[in-house]
Every structure is written in structure tokens, then in C-alpha cells.
């Protein structure tokens, strides 16, 4: 799957604030060649967050942005050690961040359809429960790939 790979997943991060999470996501995106400028990505994520929370249930959040600094559509996943206040739908602190990054001029629908499928995936509580138990990046990647291949 071209939108996600093991290198875009990072577990056991130690972010203390929302800002740090965005910085972490943006750094990895730049490192992995998804984005050109860290600052712009952080600002994009923060602006979207300001509109309304991306926090979901059971510690999951789905920060996302469509942004000129992003060169390639992709998914960055961060699993933090501790939960952070995210104003989530169930009020729980967020620790499992699935971040969707979309280039400004994304024309093809394939990527967007795939990202939509990832969003849909999070609605399934069994997948959420499963993802929280996985112990390494490889397994998270495999689990998401499996779900998407069964549900696309």
C-alpha cells in the first residue's frame, strides 16, 4: 500500500502536548519525503484542530490537513506512551494518532478514497481495540492493510 508503510509508523513516542504531536507528525513526514516544510504542516494540522476536534473514541485521534507543503499523500501514525487532552468525543485523552496528509492539488480520487476508508475503519470498535494491543509498527501496518483489503 503506497500511502502507508512501516517507516511512517512510530510507537512509544513521548509527546506532552498537542503541539508536540503535530511537530512529531510533521518531522516524520518531512523525513520520509511526504512534505517539504515542517512548519506549514504543523500549522495546517493545528488550524484544522481549531475548527473542531479530531479526537475520536478510545484514545484515537485523526489529525489531518490538506496543505501546500505536502508533496505526496500519506498516513503518519504515532502511538504515544501517555494520553493527551484532545477534547475527544468520549472525553478520553488521545494517544493513538492516525494523521492523514493530503497535497493541496490532490486530483486523483484513489488516494482520497483510501484515506476515507481509513477514517471509516476507526468507527469499528473491534479494530480500535485490536490496534491498541499491537506491540510493534509492523503489526499495526499489517492490521490496517488487512482491514483495508477486506473492506475496500
Amino acid at each position: 500500500m503506497e500511502l502507508l508503510n512501516k517507516n511512517l509508523i512510530k510507537m512509544h513516542t513521548n509527546f506532552q502536548t498537542q503541539e508536540e504531536v503535530f511537530e512529531g507528525i510533521a518531522s516524520l513526514a518531512v523525513e520520509q519525503g511526504l512534505a517539504s516544510d515542517k512548519k506549514t504542516v504543523v500549522a495546517g494540522l493545528a488550524n484544522r484542530e481549531k475548527e473542531s476536534t479530531t479526537g475520536f473514541f478510545d484514545g484515537f485521534a485523526i489529525p489531518h490537513t490538506k496543505n501546500s507543503a505536502i508533496q505526496k499523500a500519506g498516513i503518519v501514525i504515532m502511538v504515544n506512551e501517555s494520553g493527551l487532552e484532545w477534547n475527544s468525543m468520549d472525553g478520553q485523552p488521545a494517544k493513538f494518532f492516525i494523521s492523514l496528509l493530503i497535497p493541496e492539488n490532490e486530483a486523483g480520487t484513489t488516494h482520497l478514497t483510501l484515506l476515507a476508508a481509513v477514517s471509516r475503519m476507526l468507527v469499528h470498535e473491534d479494530i480500535r481495540a485490536k490496534l491498541l494491543t499491537l506491540e510493534n509498527e509492523e503489526k499495526i501496518y499489517e492490521e490496517i492493510k488487512r482491514f483495508l483489503s477486506e473492506n475496500m
Binding site: 489531518h64 490538506k66 468525543m89 492523514l100 477514517s119
Partner: protein, 468 residues
């Protein structure tokens, strides 16, 4: 169960990347669980997918709109519809479908969308629904007003840096640029109350409410009714339009266009204006009565005088009561009494500082917009621009104003006890060089501000934890 219930739904969110599809999935899963047939149209970044046909809409037993953007809901007119935000679509999908199954959804009303939403929220389906609706309207007004307060306030504060009288062409320190800053900032300040009223009205009754609210707010402003008058104007305007929507519901649909462009503005402005006339009219009387009341106390003991001046100054911040204290102060200045004004100034400087300290020490319990506004209020407070506190007070006047009054009273009482003399009617800490006992004056103001800031912060913490 003779026949499966059929539902059509439309979801959409501003970015169109995540929540649109989460709501779609949540609704589909809930439908499956409840044994209902559903088709969900998504308005995402890709465009509209799974588009609903006329036939499908016609055949559906009910409609769910879970969107924070326009999803062309007009086509559902007359269908039993549940209209909610996209996050409610995700969180309460089952509940929404159950409402359709139970036949609790109301027919969609097309253009008078605002009305049905209003009815829904004021019916109190969630606990404290009416109170929440009121708060939502206030918040909408405040968040639109805030940039005017900050931008205008800082411009005025900057003009003071050229000298307190630098905007006065007759004064020796006159500076053209300072006068420009002052008058431009003044224009923004003049719009503060109308904008507050306009967007309270808009939150209640959309664009027609905005129009009537704007006019009502202008009347409150020019009539000297201050921001409390503006809040009144916004609510009067909004509910007058809702009433008009109800009254004009019987008109044929072909007149819909005429309603929006002609009937709502015409009758809305007329009725709001008439109502505001009676609100604004007694303002001069109140103002004069307060001034003569105050003049009886100008030689009272410092504690009583401070209490009265402090409470009056923080009560309506720019309204008739505040102005009475301020005008009495300036009148006494020209009689050579510099003591009285010192208390008034202290009481006017304190409210913005209270909000500033509260947002710094109780940071967690304020949202980002409030934190930033709080920082700006250090500047506005220090330069005697009381209006900086209005956005905070307007969100919850019944609680916040008494807190501001307490803080301002403490500042004023201490100022009188310390026998501070302030010979200038404006400028805040910028006039410190000419203030007698200036250090004590700052101490008095800081004590009042910190006490007020602490109470306000504790309240904010309390209400934050209560909503958790």
C-alpha cells in the same frame, strides 16, 4: 414489522477528509444493527459520492443530515428530518436512526432551517438545552466581536504612546499620526457592540437575524446602552425574526425569495428598532440618576466610595452606569479634585487585567482564543481600555460581571485609602509620571486584579469540570 424502514442520509464536513466518512460508516453500522435500510451520500473532498436520487428521497421514511457544511438540504423539504452536526452523526448514530424509527423527526422546513434548529435546541433534548442555546448565541456574537476589540484597542493604546492628549488637535502634544491611530481604533470600537448584536442575531435566525441585530446594536451603541444593550438587541432581533418566520409560514412558497430580501429585513428592522427605542430611551435617565446618586457620595468614606465607584465602573463597561462614574470623575478633575478620578481609573483598568491574570494562571480552563485575548488585555488594561474585558463578560454576564465588580471595587477602595491622585482622565499606567503615590496606585490595582483574576479563574475551572 411489515416493511423495513428506509432512511437516506447526507454527511459532510469542511475538510471533507475524515469526519464525513466516519459519520457515513457510523450511520451504516447503526442502521445494520437496528435493522434499517440506509443510503448515505457523502460530501467529501472528492465531491459528492453515493448521490441520492429524487426517487430514493421520495421513498425514504426519514432523512438524517449530519453535516457542518451545506449538503443541499433543501431537497429534503417536507421529509421527516433529523438535522445535526457531523460529530453528532458519528457519536449518536443509533440515537438518530431511532428518532426516525420512532417517528420523532420533524418535517424539514427548507428555508426556515434556522427555525427548526432553534426549536430543537430550545426544547432541551439534552440537559440544559435552552441555556446552551443562549450560550451558543452569545459565543457567536463574542467571537465575531473580539477581533474588533483587540485591533481597535491596541491601536488606541498605541496612540497614547505619543502622549495622552496627542489625538486632540487643540493640545500642544497633538500628533497627526497618533490622531489617526486613535480615530481608526475608535471606529473599530464603535463597531464592537453592533457586531456583537449582529452575530447574536445571526446565530438565532441566520442572515435576517444578522441584519436586524446589526441595526439594533447600532441603536444600543449610539443610544449609550453599552454592550449589555447590544446583547439585548441581538436577542430581540433574533427572536423577532423567528417570530416573523412563524407568522409568514403560511405564505405560498413562491414568495420565499420576497421574504428573504424584502419582508424579513423590512419588518425585522422595524420591529427591532421599535423595541430598541424603548430599551435605549431610559439610558440618559439612568445615566443622570447615577451621576446625581454618585455626587451624594463623593465625600463619603473611602471604603464606601470605592465600593460604589468600583461596582459602577465594572457593571456595564461603556454603558450608562460606567459612564456616570467616568463623567463624574472628569467633571471633578476640572474642579481640581484628583482623588476621585484615581479610583475611577483604577476600577476601569482592573477588569481587563482580571481576565488577563485569569487566563495566565488558569490557562488550562480557557480556550486558545481567550488565552490570546487575555494576553492582549495586559496592554488594554494598562492603558485604561476597559472594553478589553467585554468579550469575556459578554459570554456569561451574570457570573463574570459581579466578579469584575468585586475586583474593581477592591482596586478603587485601596486607591482611595492610599490617597492616590490621578490628574488625567485616560491613559492608564502611561500617566504614571504625573500620578501622586503612583506606586501605591499600581499596587492597589494589582491586588484588585489578582483577587478578581483568582475568583474568575476558579469559576472557570469549576464550570470546565462540570461540563466534563
Amino acid at each position: 414489522m411489515s416493511k423495513k424502514v428506509k432512511i437516506v442520509a447526507a454527511t459532510g464536513c469542511p475538510t471533507g477528509i475524515a469526519h464525513t466518512f466516519m459519520a457515513e460508516e457510523a450511520l451504516k453500522r447503526a442502521a445494520e444493527k437496528l435493522g434499517v435500510e440506509i443510503k448515505v451520500e457523502t460530501h467529501g473532498q472528492v465531491g459528492v459520492q453515493n448521490q441520492l436520487t429524487k426517487e430514493e428521497i421520495r421513498a425514504a421514511d426519514g432523512v438524517i443530515v449530519a453535516a457542518d457544511k451545506d449538503v443541499d438540504a433543501g431537497r429534503f423539504k417536507g421529509k421527516p428530518t433529523v438535522d445535526v452536526s457531523v460529530s453528532a452523526g458519528i457519536k449518536e448514530a443509533e440515537h438518530l436512526i431511532q428518532q426516525i424509527i420512532d417517528g420523532k423527526a420533524r418535517p424539514y422546513k427548507g428555508n426556515s432551517n434556522a427555525e427548526s434548529k432553534q426549536e430543537e435546541s430550545s426544547e432541551g433534548k439534552s440537559a440544559g438545552g435552552f441555556g446552551r442555546a443562549i450560550y451558543k448565541h452569545l459565543m457567536n456574537g463574542v467571537s465575531h466581536m473580539l477581533p474588533f476589540v483587540v485591533g481597535g484597542g491596541v491601536l488606541i493604546a498605541l496612540s497614547f504612546l505619543f502622549g495622552i492628549h496627542s489625538a486632540n488637535p487643540d493640545h500642544e502634544s497633538y500628533n497627526e499620526f497618533a490622531a489617526f491611530l486613535n480615530s481608526t481604533g475608535g471606529v473599530a470600537f464603535g463597531l464592537m457592540v453592533p457586531i456583537l448584536a449582529a452575530f447574536i442575531g445571526q446565530s438565532i435566525a441566520q442572515r435576517p437575524g444578522m441584519v436586524a441585530g446589526f441595526v439594533g446594536g447600532m441603536m444600543a451603541n449610539t443610544g449609550g446602552a453599552g454592550f449589555l444593550g447590544g446583547i439585548v438587541a441581538g436577542f430581540i432581533a433574533g427572536y423577532i425574526i423567528l417570530l416573523l418566520m412563524k407568522l409568514l409560514k403560511g405564505l405560498p412558497r413562491t414568495l420565499d425569495g420576497l421574504k428573504a430580501i424584502f419582508l424579513y429585513p423590512l419588518f425585522g428592522i422595524f420591529l427591532t428598532g421599535a423595541a430598541m427605542y424603548f430599551v435605549v430611551e431610559p439610558m440618559t435617565t439612568i445615566n443622570e440618576a447615577m451621576m446625581s446618586f454618585l455626587s451624594n457620595f463623593q465625600d463619603a468614606n473611602p471604603i464606601l466610595l470605592g465600593l460604589i465607584v468600583g461596582s459602577m465602573s465594572a457593571l456595564d463597561m461603556g454603558g450608562p452606569v460606567n459612564k456616570a462614574a467616568y463623567l463624574t470623575g472628569t467633571a471633578l478633575l476640572s474642579d481640581g479634585n484628583f482623588f476621585f478620578m484615581a479610583g475611577v481609573s483604577a476600577a476601569c483598568i482592573t477588569p481587563p487585567l482580571i481576565t488577563a491574570f485569569a487566563t495566565v494562571f488558569f490557562r488550562k480552563f480557557f480556550n486558545e482564543q481567550e488565552r490570546n485575548a487575555g494576553l492582549v488585555n495586559f496592554i488594554l488594561g494598562s492603558t485604561h481600555i476597559t472594553e478589553g474585558a467585554i468579550p469575556f463578560a459578554a459570554k456569561n454576564p451574570i457570573v463574570v460581571i459581579p466578579i469584575l465588580m468585586v475586583g474593581s471595587s477592591i482596586s478603587a477602595i485601596l486607591t482611595y485609602i492610599f490617597s492616590v491622585q490621578v490628574p488625567a482622565p485616560h491613559g492608564g499606567f502611561l500617566v504614571l509620571p504625573v500620578v501622586t503615590n503612583g506606586v501605591l496606585w499600581v499596587v492597589a490595582i494589582l491586588i484588585g486584579s489578582l483577587v478578581g483574576g483568582f475568583i474568575y479563574g476558579m469559576y472557570q475551572k469549576y464550570s470546565y469540570q462540570k461540563t466534563k
